[in-house]
């Protein structure tokens, strides 16, 4: 048998001299991933260090940072690069996702951070990105500057590989130093990126740390959240809530908790020619990362039409999921996931017995399940993730309103297959109901650069806007030595 590989991950700032412990994560009999682990003392030392060295990243130009991030991304896009190979080799072992899903998912995700895309991130949040370099004339008079939060703290989730890169790179772009806690479910990718980025731009080598600490360790968490200027927390609502309670009221808190996303398919996308392609894209959103991302659909709303019945749509979607299962196998479920899937299927079966028009399609091995529900009013829990989905018909888009209102606080992405004639009207409706991202069907798991995650500004959250008002400028003239 091949020997177990030991890889030291995470990232500690290059010149940090303090002591810290390490922790090993074992992934089967194949890989041990060793990460820096913080306790109360080491977290205080590390936070003090990052604060003290913030000047280094602060003095770099955004252009320089973009150049370094772009170089790092290009290395990780290069199939021959040793770290790309390492990621491709180990991410399937760590996360359980299919190798093909990882390979394709990683490439398309990393491409979101190439230089031209990073400029899009900047433009999405700043009318004039030069405010990151210094005071710039403001539209309403005076001057304005985007001052980086010295140290941002990120608590990442591990549901989707490399997810942490989004906030890590966002903070970096606006010159905020970062301390990030990786999830035990995917502790590899952000550390690997940080390491490579620090090599590429030595001026960034003391600007971040990618580490681990045990969630719930009171003293460590109090120290870190108390010293950080902003805390971004990803995870289920319970985890995020626990973190929120420990963050001081004076510290900016960015909660990214549980979400519900959905797809909407118009009748026009279901004619005999288009239906194959439409359902292929619908299935792609379900299959990639087994709906573990907040942006993955849990329910598909299908407009009633003359071409094809809801049951037929459900059956064809099920067939597509079966084909995709052969191409991109679903990951092994935990015991808890399996039992909640069984429970959901059981509920669908009861509903089926009660109502003739509902129908359940389920794979023999439980690798996917499609539940067709004609009556939107009876839609309960739409799915239980891991390739389970409800397909629900509607005659008029307004019929979605009751369901959306019930879910309003957790709504996020809507994937649409809709003709131009309906696109804006339906988008207005969905935006009104609380949807914060609308994209094409098949693209749900790949937000575009500059995405306003849960309706927030990705970059803006890591800076503090500073106004230099007109009055100060005016008085400056008064006191100027060169004034006649």
């Amino acid at each position: 048998m091949a020997e177990k590989t030991l890889y030291s991950g995470g990232y500690i700032p290059k010149d940090f001299q303090g002591h810290y412990e390490e922790i090993d994560f074992d992934f089967g009999d194949k890989l041990t991933l060793r990460l820096p682990r913080l306790n109360k003392e080491s977290s205080r030392e590390l936070m003090t260090f990052l604060k003290a060295r913030h000047g280094q990243i602060q003095n770099l130009s955004v252009a320089k940072i973009i150049e370094a991030v772009d170089k790092t991304i290009k290395q990780l896009l290069d199939k021959e690069h040793p770290l790309r190979r390492l990621a491709q080799q180990w991410l399937p072992v760590i996360t359980g996702y299919d190798e093909e899903v990882i390979r394709l998912g990683l490439t398309r995700y990393l491409k979101r951070f190439e230089a031209h895309q990073l400029h899009r991130f900047l433009s999405a949040d700043f009318a004039d990105p030069a405010v990151l370099e210094g005071f710039r004339p403001g539209v309403s008079g005076g001057y304005v500057k985007a001052q980086a939060m010295p140290v941002s703290c990120h608590i990442w989730a591990g549901n989707v590989p490399a997810l942490g890169l989004w906030s890590f790179i966002s903070a970096c772009l606006v010159k905020s130093s970062s301390i990030g806690k990786v999830s035990a479910a995917e502790p590899l990718m952000t550390g690997l990126f940080a390491r490579l980025l620090a090599e590429n731009e030595p001026a960034l080598a003391n600007a971040f740390a990618v580490v681990y600490w045990q969630g719930g360790e009171e003293e460590t968490e109090k120290t870190i959240y108390g010293m950080a200027d902003v805390v971004a927390a990803y995870g289920n609502n319970e985890t995020v809530e626990k973190i929120r309670q420990k963050v001081p009221i004076t510290t900016r808190f960015l909660p990214y908790g549980h979400k519900l996303s959905l797809s909407v398919i118009a009748g026009e996308a279901l004619d005999h020619v288009k239906i194959g392609d439409t359902l292929r894209r619908a299935a792609k959103d379900i299959v990639f990362y087994d709906q573990q991302g907040c942006y993955s659909p849990q329910v598909i709303f299908v407009e009633e039409n003359d071409a094809i019945s809801l049951r037929e749509v459900g059956s064809m979607l099920a067939q597509q999921l079966a084909r995709d299962e052969k191409r991109y196998g679903r990951r092994q479920l935990s015991f808890g996931e399996e039992s909640s899937q069984r429970q959901w299927i059981g509920q669908c079966e009861i509903e089926m017995m009660e109502r003739d028009e509902s129908e359940l399609f389920v794979s023999r091995e439980g690798a996917w399940a499609v539940f067709c529900q004609k009556d939107i009013g009876r839609l309960g829990v739409p799915g239980t993730l891991n390739r389970t989905i409800s397909v629900v018909s509607f005659k008029n888009i307004e019929e979605l309103s009751d369901f959306l209102q019930k879910m309003r606080k957790i709504l996020q992405t809507a994937g649409l297959a809709v003709p131009t004639e309906k696109l804006f009207a339906w988008s207005e409706f969905l935006a009104n109901e609380g949807i914060s991202r609308i994209c094409g069907l098949g693209e749900m798991t790949l937000p575009q650069a500059g995405w306003h995650h849960d309706g927030r500004h990705s970059l803006m959250d890591f800076v503090q806007m500073v106004d230099l008002e007109y009055s100060a400028e005016q008085q400056g003239v008064l006191y100027s030595t060169t004034t006649d």
Partner: protein, 258 residues
Amino acid sequence: MTDLLKDQVILVTGASSGIGAETARQLAKHGAFVIINYLKNHEQAKKVEEDCNQTTHGGGWCIAADMTDAAAIGQMVEDIQLEFGRLDGIVFNAAFSYKFDAQNRPYPWHINWDEYAKAQKQIVAPLHALLNLTLEMLTKKEDSRVVVVSSNLVKRPIVTYHTYNVGKAALEAYGRNMANELGRMGVRVNTVVPGMVYPTKATADTKEETKELVLAQTPLGRLAKAEDVADAVLFFLSPYSSFLTGQSLYVDGGLTNQ
């Protein structure tokens, strides 16, 4: 599994990876003793051998031989003769080292005829040499079988890999002619014709756009897996195909359906 091929000795060429490796495993599961021919990758061939030896009735033995080298083929056949004294079937799968790069493939007007000739030499000549050398063993008994692995690009060149596709066309013609010639001598010769098989070493770097091109036109909506091809090979080696010779079986999800 079954005992369909129990006690039979079957040579699979190019069996250290991809279709060949999967075929070897599949045949062993059905009781065959598989001779795993490979070119260079000893470690991988050894792994296939191990897998074959772990089956209930089947077994495996790996043996290196460059199929483009007549002397090496001769040595291999001699070794088989010495070790087993019999050969019940051949799966001719050895791949010719062709770079499947759809985006950068050459236009035919840039290809010198020598390259077509070289492709045919690498694709067809090894089968000719192998059949000549093994004929004595194959015709010693009734119902010996030869299965040739071709490509559906011959019938439908959805991607025009010119030298490769023309070489495979010659291979298919060679197989059909041999079927007629050897039928009365107790040897059946059939061809398995896969579409794009993914993942294999040959398609590992195939761009997604090429895969999508094939996929979009495939009625069964997915690409072939090595297992799909191995199943068709098994059929031609099994008694279930005992009255079939000179036939082609397309394993491409219906892409070449006419």
